[in-house]
Amino acid sequence: MDCDAFYAAVEKRDNPSLADKPLIIGGNSDRGVVSTACYIARTYGVHSAMPMVQARKLCPHAVILKPDMERYRIASRAVRNLMDALTPLVEPLSLDEAFLDLTGTEALHGLSPAEQLARLASDVEKTIGISLSVGLSHNKFLAKIASDLKKPRGFSIIGKAETLDFLARQKVSLIWGVGKAMCDRLHNDGITHIGQLQQMEEADLLRRYSSFGGKLWRLARGIDDRQIVTGTAPKSVSAETTFEHDIADYETLEIHLWKQCERLSKALKKKDLAAGTVTLKLKTAQHRQITRSRALFSPSQLADRLFEMGQALLKPECRDQIPYRLLGITGTNFTPAQMGDTPDFLQPEKDRHAKAERTMDQINARFGTQMVKKGRSV
């Protein structure tokens, strides 16, 4: 199940005047990237992950909007609620994509899986106001392929009986995990279509492409036994910024770091988690990536503490005045919030900061965001 041009669809739903205009969602700076292009914009060749500069050239009259994740999340949640009504086995891949395991639901709903999905798609359109494409098959690999076959508002089924024939006609690049490099390698070996892989022995593929060969052999036959994984806890939470202009001086970077720590802290508080490890990410003007990690002595979700660690990691990287194009901070190694931020009797002043931050959070929760904020964020 895959929502069609999801971010753009939500924007068009909420602002009907955009309906017949090419719409691009993404950062509108020189370094911005397209995160979603509506189907009108796509006819001009705009696609996601394209640099915004290029998108603007291809489609100069497009309306460009910054993503409003909060609204997309609400819409996504609404779609999710309808999916949950069909089956408890829902594996979200992102806000706009999910796998549903409908095994055994026929008896429950009195409808075949295809009928259930058709009804779901129509319910989503009617109640939420966005469209989606459905791919139905007997495993995740094929369902994903099916959902991409006809978009938007697609509905495709790959049955067990036609799996081999269907795959035989497809190009190898369709196989999940075959990127540009692997595709080139296969082409060099004269393999362009999945049908050719179906003719080959597993041992031969293993010999040529080692462990990936085994995967090729199985997927070419439509064999994929991955289960639906529900409710996986997040492994990391991060905030990062690509700058309009490269920044080399510590004081300016620190301002961005603080804002990111506030965002990171907000996300952690929302999930009721404390991060045990903080990772700082920097990208130089030459696109070289630097990451620096350190464990917090006591896991934390407080902006103040995350910032303190972030500063300690950032300072040494600013000694040589290297210009950076990107700065980010990530929290990993989570524990429940309650286990973190243990008061430290040697540093009572820090506990006062922690209390102040929690009080600010309460005030903001009650009277709206940003009622009270730190001078540093202004």
């Binding site: 002595f297 524990t335 286990m339 243990t342 009797f345 040697l346």
Partner: protein
């Protein structure tokens, strides 16, 4: 250099020194152990530049000499030799040959002249301490040593002369800001004028290894910056942490008036049992105190809940408090008496714990938010 030594003697000495050698080193020779045959003895030396150990062991020496070889490799080889084997070591030019039974190894050497010597410098304060006392000072405090790099001055045991009601004592303190452990022994002769020093965690660990096999008096010599420990066959020299240990006395609460007395063994076992329910690394256990009983509980969002009621001696106002169960067990592990005493203030303030049978040890534990 040419010598023969019994495998078990060599292994014992090597296992003491090799743990000083870091697994990864930017300076190659720091991965090596110095082997020196002289005066009818074999001397093994290892250092990480902050800490050095020299261990002597008897050997049948045919020819004096010295070299350095990779410490972990040599240790692994000797470890894998059969018990009772006679090990022959001989140095020829740039390699050390090791013979044992039908095994033969040649190891690349680095010249002993390049091996860093750690000079202790002037050590004006000298005293001796019986091994069991040293063991007490270490065991009852080292669990509270902080691993936080930014507050490096907490990464060791603070050893100093303390003035109390019963006169001067030699006191060891370790804290990480969440818990504090303090223990003292009678002040040894010659220690009175010593400065307060912070012994690094790694040195503490190395010293502790020797205490399992050593019963006598340990010779201690120290200055503001270095310390030396003299055992029967080994000498450990270490730099001290160059920092100021915080004024810990202000974090030991004086006015906690809610007294809880409980069987240490029952308490410890119950805490261990209820925390089984939580898969988390830092489990928090909630203590609900009422007249003459306490209720322990742990809640895990994934797994469920666990509770256990224990009889206890408590007559103050009912209260609830949460602790990190690991921290609680660390303290209870060190209590030797049947009973442990806890003095509490409220659910957000530090609790003081004492061994019912040992007045010289004291622990402070910060509660968790519950």
């Amino acid at each position: 250099m040419k010598l023969t030594i019994e495998r078990s003697a060599l292994l014992k000495a090597l296992s003491h020194v090799q743990s000083v050698v870091e697994k990864r080193n930017t300076i190659p020779i720091l991965s090596n152990v110095q082997i020196e045959a002289a005066d009818g003895q074999l001397a093994l030396t290892a250092t990480d530049l902050d800490l050095a150990i020299v261990e002597h062991t008897g050997a049948d020496i045919a020819q004096d000499g010295a070299t350095t070889v990779p410490a972990h490799t040599l240790h692994d080889i000797v470890r894998k030799l059969p018990d009772g084997a006679q090990v022959g070591l001989s140095l020829n030019d740039r390699t050390l040959t090791l013979n044992a039974g039908r095994s033969r190894f040649t190891l690349a050497c680095l010249p002993r002249e390049d091996f860093p010597v750690m000079s202790a410098g002037e050590l004006p304060h000298r005293f001796t301490l019986p091994a069991p006392q040293m063991k007490r000072l270490i065991d009852k405090t080292r669990f509270a040593i902080s691993t936080e790099e930014t507050r490096y001055y907490l990464n060791g045991i603070y050893l100093h002369v303390a003035e109390g009601e019963k006169g001067s004592t030699l006191r060891a303190v370790a804290t990480d800001g969440h818990r504090l452990a303090q223990v003292e022994v009678a002040l040894p002769d010659g220690a009175a004028g010593m400065p307060g020093i912070i012994i690094p965690r790694k040195t503490v660990q190395e010293i502790r290894k020797h205490l399992d096999e050593f019963e006598g008096e340990i010779g201690i010599e120290l200055s503001d910056t270095k310390i030396l420990f003299r055992f029967a066959h080994a000498v450990v020299t270490s730099k001290l942490i160059d920092g100021t240990f915080p004024d810990y006395s202000r974090v030991i609460p004086e006015g906690n008036d809610r007294l809880l007395k409980i069987s240490c063994e029952e308490f410890s076992e119950a805490v261990d049992r209820v925390s089984t329910i939580s898969s988390d690394k830092s489990r928090s256990v909630k203590l609900a105190l009422e007249t003459d009983k306490i209720m322990l509980s742990v809640t895990s969002p994934e797994n469920g809940t666990a509770t256990e009621e224990l009889a206890a001696d408590y007559s103050a106002e009912a209260m609830e408090i949460g602790f990190n169960s690991r921290y609680l067990l660390d303290i209870l592990d060190q209590v030797e008496g049947d009973e442990v005493e806890a003095r509490l203030a409220d659910s957000a303030s530090p609790t003081v714990m004492r061994d019912g049978a040992d007045e010289s040890a004291l622990y402070v534990l910060m509660p968790m938010r519950v």
